[in-house]
């Protein structure tokens, strides 16, 4: 089956819903109705045209009602989106306006509807609130349904799919997504959409792997192609080789097993068998994700990535917009801490209107704190928003990509200025926030002792730290296999940072993927990491592993770890020593 001679292709998109699935692709080509006929109607046909429109709306309502009633049990909670669409169908700004235009302008229903919709949509797109901006999509879904009924276009019946397939579509409307029968769908792949789209929310609820925002998946993938969807990493592999299939088959089994462990015990403390307590926190990107951190038993937010608001709109978000989102998160999870990482962005990539200069090595370029220090106004706006949100709960500030001492001083200066300006304005804020830096550039590891005096905590960003230290671009498949968290160099670097932190009396956290894998726990406990932060889904498994270990054993174990010469030797040693715990916990 795999030996087709076809070349393996890897597509990278957005990791919309975690998990891995392997299966045949099923292409659903649902495009919006683009071609709309335009013609004028005579006076006497006016009533008929209005009636035609009304019955298209009625049909749309009936269709939505049927979809809601037939929605699988697990999706009932999401049916409210469809209820909203149902009410929208008869909204006077859509419904009344269209009828009015048919009457006044004597044009056909399709054309009238199109006019109305584009007007309403542009009104919404102009709104400052990103939530409301996105409601333009709901208007599209609702009006597309009317339009399809008007022109008599067939809707692909997703409910009729009778094979276990991976759905590949341009985009899925909530109505379409709700018709999917869980037991028949292994995963989703879409051209459009992102983490906040309804489809990805549904996919996460159903715990079906999904990769979105691929751009041209429906063209690159053919019906019945064998594909692998890795929703955790956000990649889709077309025509996988035998080797890749085996690797992912293995990963998929592991993932399922881990999932089975989820929720059970997830609210117990992450306390080792010898009574040492660790904090296990969640990484989030969107305020909405706070809920899953709480659900999975997280002790707070160890990494709140703030890039989304900057990437999702064409202009820079203002202080109030940022404040609103931060405050949302901070309030919901208070008194537990929220660690807000300041903008970690490649300025050029982010603000496309600025892209007059292309960086050859963006990973080594003007990004994160470097970008912020070069654009102090942008930075100050974010810092002010964070300090204001800090008045509503427990906030920590985390600065990414620190490579030298000067950057820390400069950052603190701007932070102080931001606080002073808020004080002068008499604004509600809290300047007494913990201040920490990401340790993700090798130079920061080496000078950790110099940096420690200026900060309240270190947070090890292992993804970048490993890439930079081992000089490996994980996106490059020729070298990706060399990326290994258990590389002796990485373990030694972490030890240095942890030792310095202990020596200087500051805390040390870890928020990279390394913190999310139970197999790494003996080492992280042995090195004395105070707090781990990870994607929410990983929290229960990590907590379970911690509860099964003893710090005392882990410390002794480290002596053996430091005798090992390669990453695979280290991994072997962990499996040898803790194999029984790992397999009992079903993580190995």
């Amino acid at each position: 089956m795999t030996d087709t001679g076809l070349k393996e292709i890897i597509l990278t998109g957005i990791d919309a819903s975690p998990g891995i699935c392997i299966g045949k692709a099923y292409i659903v080509d649902i495009e919006g109705v683009d071609v709309v006929k335009k013609y004028f109607i005579s006076e006497e046909d006016e009533e008929k045209e209005i009636k035609r429109f009304k019955s298209a709306v009625k049909k749309a309502r009936d269709q939505l009602r049927a979809i809601i009633n037939n929605a699988p049990e697990e999706l009932r909670d999401h049916a409210y989106i469809l209820e909203t669409h149902k009410v929208l169908l008869k909204d006077k700004m859509l419904y009344g306006k269209t009828i009015e235009i048919i009457k006044n302008e004597k044009i056909n229903a399709e054309w009238a509807l199109k006019k109305v919709v584009s007007e309403v949509k542009s009104m919404f797109k102009k709104m400052s609130d990103s939530y409301l901006k996105e409601r333009a999509t709901d208007i599209t879904y609702a009006s597309d349904r009317i339009m399809r009924n008007l022109v008599g276009a067939e809707t692909e019946k997703i409910a009729d799919i009778d094979k276990r397939v991976i759905l590949v579509a341009n985009d899925l409307s909530p109505a379409e997504a709700s018709q999917i029968h869980l037991e028949r769908i292994k995963g989703f792949v879409t051209n459009r959409g992102g983490k906040t789209s309804h489809t990805s929310i549904i996919a996460r609820t159903l715990e079906i792997p999904a990769v979105m925002g691929l751009g041209n998946a429906t063209h690159s993938i053919k019906n019945d192609d064998l594909i692998i969807v890795d929703g955790t990493a956000g990649i889709v592999i077309i025509h996988p080789t035998e080797e890749t299939l085996l690797e992912y088959g293995d990963r998929s089994v592991k993932y399922e097993e881990r999932k089975a462990d989820i929720t059970r015990d997830s609210h117990l403390k992450a306390e080792t068998a010898d009574g040492f307590q660790l904090k296990v926190m969640g990484n989030i990107e969107l305020p909405e994700e706070v809920v899953s951190v709480i659900d999975y038993g997280g002790d707070g937010i160890g990494l709140y990535r703030t890039e989304f608001q900057y990437l999702s709109s064409s202009s820079l978000p203002n202080e109030d917009e940022l404040f609103d989102k931060y405050k949302d998160v901070v309030e919901v999870i208070a008194p537990k801490p929220v660690t807000i990482r300041t903008l970690d962005i490649n300025g050029d990539k982010a603000f496309s209107n600025n892209s007059d200069y292309v960086e050859v090595n963006p990973a080594l370029g003007l990004r994160a704190i470097r970008y912020c220090l070069k654009n102090p106004d942008v930075f100050r706006t974010q810092l002010r928003a964070i300090l204001r949100a800090a008045a509503f709960g427990n906030v920590r500030i985390l600065i990414p990509m620190i490579s030298g001492y000067g950057e820390v001083l400069e950052t603190k200066k701007i932070l102080n200025e931001a606080a002073d300006s808020l004080e002068k304005e008499g604004a509600l804020f809290n300047r007494d926030v913990e201040f920490g830096i990401m340790i993700e550039v090798p130079s920061a590891v080496v000078i950790a002792d110099i940096l420690a005096g200026e900060v309240d905590f270190f947070s090890l960003g292992t993804n970048d730290l490993i890439q930079y230290s081992l000089a490996i671009d994980r996106g490059n498949r020729h070298v990706a296999h060399l990326y290994h968290a258990l590389h002796p160099a990485i373990i030694r670097m972490i030890k240095n940072v942890a030792d310095v932190a202990k020596d200087k009396g500051i805390k040390v956290f870890m928020c990279g993927e390394m913190a999310a894998d139970p197999i790494n726990m003996p080492i992280l406990l042995g090195l004395g990491i105070d707090e781990l932060s990870m994607n929410p889904q990983s929290i229960p498994a990590v907590k379970g592993m911690i509860r099964a270990l003893k710090v005392k054993d882990a410390r002794v174990f480290m002596k053996d770890v430091f005798k090992k010469k390669t990453a695979s030797e280290v991994e072997e040693l962990i499996k040898e020593t803790f194999g029984s715990i790992l397999s009992e916990k079903m993580y190995a």
């Binding site: 409210y80 009410v87 909204d91 939530y131 949302d328």
Partner: protein
């Protein structure tokens, strides 16, 4: 004469978003006469989700619900209750 308006505060986390706006619009459509939502200087028709959304009511917004006809008092009370209970979204 009974008062034909009620002042309410948006208490749910997400503000007056699509789902809650739809709820209000559905209630307002049952009225015999007009139902209005007033925020600051703006006044919109409560039977239109889109109109309501354009008010951009975040959590904490103060708004006034108003009816034109005495016979719609039930509608007014029902709508006000939705706001007061956070549209059933408070955990």
């Amino acid at each position: 004469m009974t008062k034909l308006s009620r002042d309410v505060i948006v208490v749910n986390e997400l503000g007056l978003h699509a789902r809650s706006a739809a709820r209000i619009a559905e209630i307002a459509r049952k009225a015999n006469s007009n139902v209005w939502i007033i925020k600051g200087k703006r006044k919109v028709d409560a039977s239109s989700i889109l109109d309501i959304l354009t008010l951009e009511c975040a959590k904490g917004s103060k708004i006034t619900l108003k009816i034109d006809d005495q016979s719609d008092l039930d509608v007014l009370n029902d709508a006000a209750r939705q706001f007061e209970t956070g549209f059933g979204e408070l955990s």
